[in-house]
């Protein structure tokens, strides 16, 4: 179930304009600076965009707490899944395997 939050169209236009500005900013950084810096800037901007889309468009900021907890739990499962294998992946060899280099 979702709660019926009143949509403020004017505010949503402002949110959309902000999101487009962030995408353009990521593109401009890529074209002017490039390299690892532009990747870091773009990934940081993505986190900001997620918060904005999740909070305003998906109105997570007005949903019951269990919805946020449910989505947070999914992210936590993902973190655990990869945290345990991360250091193995960075190795060239393991107990029964060697890294495949395409």
């Amino acid at each position: 179930m979702t709660i019926e939050a009143e949509v403020n169209v004017k505010k949503m236009f402002q949110v959309w304009a902000l999101l487009v500005t962030l995408i353009v900013l990521a593109l401009v950084t890529f074209l002017t600076v490039g390299g690892a810096v532009s990747a870091q800037v773009a990934l940081t901007l993505t986190v900001v965009e997620w918060v904005i889309v999740g909070g305003w468009f998906m109105h997570l900021n007005a949903e019951p707490k269990w919805v946020v907890l449910l989505l947070g739990l999914a992210v936590l499962c993902l973190v655990f899944l990869f945290a345990f294998s991360y250091f193995d992946v960075l190795n060239d060899t393991g107990v029964n395997w060697i890294r495949f280099n395409p």
Binding site: T2, V7, V20, A26, F30, W50, V89
Partner: protein, 170 residues
């Protein structure tokens, strides 16, 4: 819907995090990543964000039981979803014609898999929105606009991370 999305987080998250881990372990992939078209990725991000706005406006119209505007904005959302798919098809065609296929390098396997699964979600979203529009046209099930909209926003959020990972982090 929220339960479905929590499952989707693990599906897309698994794919994207495994790509990130493999990418970190293979700096030499930069040779391959240089061939993705950043401008097309950015344009597609803006198209999806605009479709997000339209689906929000469809929701606002549905709240007022304004079925004409609700259907109009749903159709605009669908149109932008189709435009996204057309641009994606053009991009894929260009990549394949240049010799970058699913099996040419592990980077391209990840690329086609990620963008392909995302594209499939766009198709599902378009079908869902169209099905919702049929009910709204008859003045029924207005609440479904919001539910389909939440799914659509999620699909857009996925593109917002695919864009920097595959098009900017070169």
């Amino acid at each position: 819907m929220w339960l479905l999305l929590s499952g989707e987080i693990v599906i897309f998250g698994g794919l994207l995090v495994s790509y990130m881990m493999t990418r970190v372990a293979h700096p030499e992939w930069a040779e391959q990543t240089h061939h993705t078209n950043t401008l097309i990725g950015g344009v597609n991000a803006i198209i999806l964000l605009t479709s997000d706005l339209f689906v929000v406006m469809a929701h606002a119209a549905a709240q007022k039981k304004d079925k004409d505007n609700a259907v109009k904005y749903i159709y605009l959302t669908i149109a932008l979803g189709l435009l996204f798919l057309c641009i994606k098809a053009f991009e894929w065609t260009t990549d394949i014609s240049e010799g970058f296929t699913l099996t040419s390098h592990l980077f391209w396997t990840y690329y086609y898999l990620t963008t392909g699964i995302h594209g499939a979600h766009i198709v599902v979203g378009i079908i869902a929105l169209f099905a919702v529009s049929l009910g709204v046209k008859k003045g029924m099930n207005y609440q479904r606009v919001e539910i389909a909209g939440i799914y659509w926003h999620f699909v857009d959020m996925v593109w917002l991370i695919v864009f920097p990972l595959y098009y900017i982090a070169k």
